[in-house]
């Protein structure tokens, strides 16, 4: 399954339902909830950390956390 860590720069995805207890509650409170959109804004060298935009919330998270957020990648043709 794809995760946030698989996104390419500028690519978007939609967060899927995930194990409710695996992610820190702070991340959920920042807007990381199933159904919300997520975009990879920028990544540091070695793809870590990742700078993402979750439902309007801009945050940086480390790769290990990003790997735990399941998504479906949205092919972004419509945005053009």
């Amino acid at each position: 399954m794809a995760t946030v860590a698989d996104l390419k720069k500028g690519q978007k995805g939609v967060i899927l339902d995930f194990d409710k207890t695996s992610l820190p509650i702070k991340l959920l409170e920042m807007g990381c909830l199933p159904g919300n959109s997520v975009e990879l804004v920028q990544m540091a060298p070695l793809k870590d950390p990742l700078y993402i935009n979750i439902d309007g919330s801009h945050i940086a998270i480390r790769h290990d956390l990003a790997r735990q957020i399941p998504i479906t990648v949205v092919e972004d043709h419509k945005a053009l």
């Binding site: 409710k20 820190p24 509650i25 919330s57």
Partner: protein
Amino acid sequence: MNKSIRVALIGNPNTGKTSIFNQLTGLKQKVGNYPGITVEKKEGICKLPNRAKAHIFDLPGTYSLNTNSLDERVVAELLLDQKDGDYPDLAVVITEVENLKRNLFLFTQVKDLRIPTLLVINMADLIPKKGISLNVDALEKKLDTKIALVSTRKGSGILHLKELIANYHNLSAGPTTVISKIAPEYFSKLKQALPTENLYRLWLAIAQKMSLETKNAIPPASLPILSHKDLKQLQHRETVLRYQFINNALKETYLVDFKTAKGFRAVLDKTFTHKVFGYILFFMILLTIFQAIFDWSSYPSDFIDAQFSEISGWIKSNFPAGILTDLLAEGVISGIGGIAVFIPQIAFLFFFISLLEESGYMSRVVFLMDRLMRPFGLSGKSVVPLISGTACAIPAVMATRTIENWKERLITILVIPFTTCSARLPVYLILIALVIPDDSILGLSYQALTLMLLYLLGFGMAIFSAMVLNRILKMENRVFFIAEMPNYRLPLLKNVGYTVLEKTKSFVIGAGKIILALAIILWFLGSNGFSKNFRNAETIVSERIEKQGLTPYSKNYIKNNIDLYLKNIHTSPTDRDQVSGKRAIQDSVRIRTRNLEENAKRQEIASYKLEHSYMGYAGKGIEPLVKPLGYDWKIGIAVLTSFAAREVFVGTLATIYSVGNDQEETIKNRMAGELDESGEKPLFNLASGISLMLFYAFAMQCMSTLAVVKKETNSWRWPLVQLLFMSAFAYLVALTAFQLLK
């Protein structure tokens, strides 16, 4: 007198909460600490339109009442404890217009505690620019509150906010969500156990109890128990429930046209977080900060230094001579002066740091550096403190507060004192000039290379010990790294000014107390003694001078001084053939010589006194300890006093070598002339010089840093670890170096 109401300002970081606090209270604010912890507690007074007074508390920024850090814990604790003297009559939740959705999360939590809650939407001036349309009236109804649209940048909306605060009793204290929905069965059990308690309040207390000892007395024994997993599950459901409510409230009241909204941020991010340019830019900003700290701040520093020696001199010449005057002039004033010279560096540092923070750039540095710092047990958030450490470890330790992970923060605090702070510089400079040949290799001077090596050594040691500590320290490390990347903003100079003022003040007062106490103790030890020799110093030295004359050093010094004086007269256009002129010169030379001799005698008495003072005995006492490092008792004393502050080294040697003034050239010459006990080799040779430099590079010789570390870690344990460990390490390295090189 009107009863003043207590108002708590609550909000996410980066919403401009502090700007609003500043505008409400002006300079009428005080910064303290919450009892027992080091989280800053800011409060101020605000005059309301109805002439009542509001007591405003600026609570630490938090994203939620579910706590992750010390700062956030304070907020939850205060809002839970209705018996706390600071428990607010009114909560003002600050949000900003671009992140309204996320910001409202905290609002729903606070409001569910049934505290009358007001909503501030800050940065209202951005509404048209960001393509936002906002229906305030409709949103007020949906959220069941009053809204103040504020722009701290434009200074608008503050008066309206004050009016709303004054009329706070009209606010509804109803909740936004029905918390029992997340687990009806569980909550009905809770209700049975404590029928009168607000369920959300109870739930929050239960959810936080593992990490938070709430001060209020909810008897937990009778409550149904949840497993950790169930608890997280419920918190997750709560989060979803709250966002459902928020999304519903914002659906028709808050619309964003994203085409307008994008733009500037994306462009700036492309540059600032670029894989190559991002780092180059950061490096250039660093250079500018170093330039400011080392170069620009030296002018005001020198000025302050001069002022303090003037005051000290003035006191000595205008107060009756005696023990109290000495204490005042030498102990107190020079002690305060020792702190005050750091003010420009600290002010500059905090100026830049708060500028970078206010603009949003700092979060990008955190982003860029995080991966590079991690192998050493540090975080991206450790970078700024480590940089600050090259100016002074004190503000650097304070700057670690942004690191939410306690282990990473502790490691950062522990290794900061290894970075080469500016107080080491005078010590390095004089030792390098003494023992490193004034030669060059491939156009690079040995002396400059040595200095650079010392800087690299300090930084390398910081990184290396971080790595070691990372292995040794066993700490639960649950906190995930989540850093908000706020939007770029032009910094408000007023806010920057407040920060600089407040941090500098807290440095001077906080660290000052300790430096001052120590300066007084050192002065006392240096100017008092119990032995006969000390008490009769004057007679003993006078007799010796009568019998044997002044010491060779003093004689030489007087001769050089007179020669220089005569040479200057020689070149000045006096009519020297005139008999009267000649006599005048002879007279003046005689007077001058007498004065110099008097001076030299005083110096020698002072030196003798010091040698037989408590400190002198201490120096003799530690001599066996410092001898293997290549130092004599005098250097031993200088090293000992340096534990108050490193830069004391040169000054102490100056006193011991009875060189009256602090002119480095003179001290340097005197030091160059010192011989070791065999009387053949110079005391300051390559071996002992390197040994000294290495000792200063590694030893924890700074009382104020220890004091700040104590304050920030809230225990004596860590500063003691630093003191003992670093100093022992320094000793071993210096010992090895001397024994190998001698």
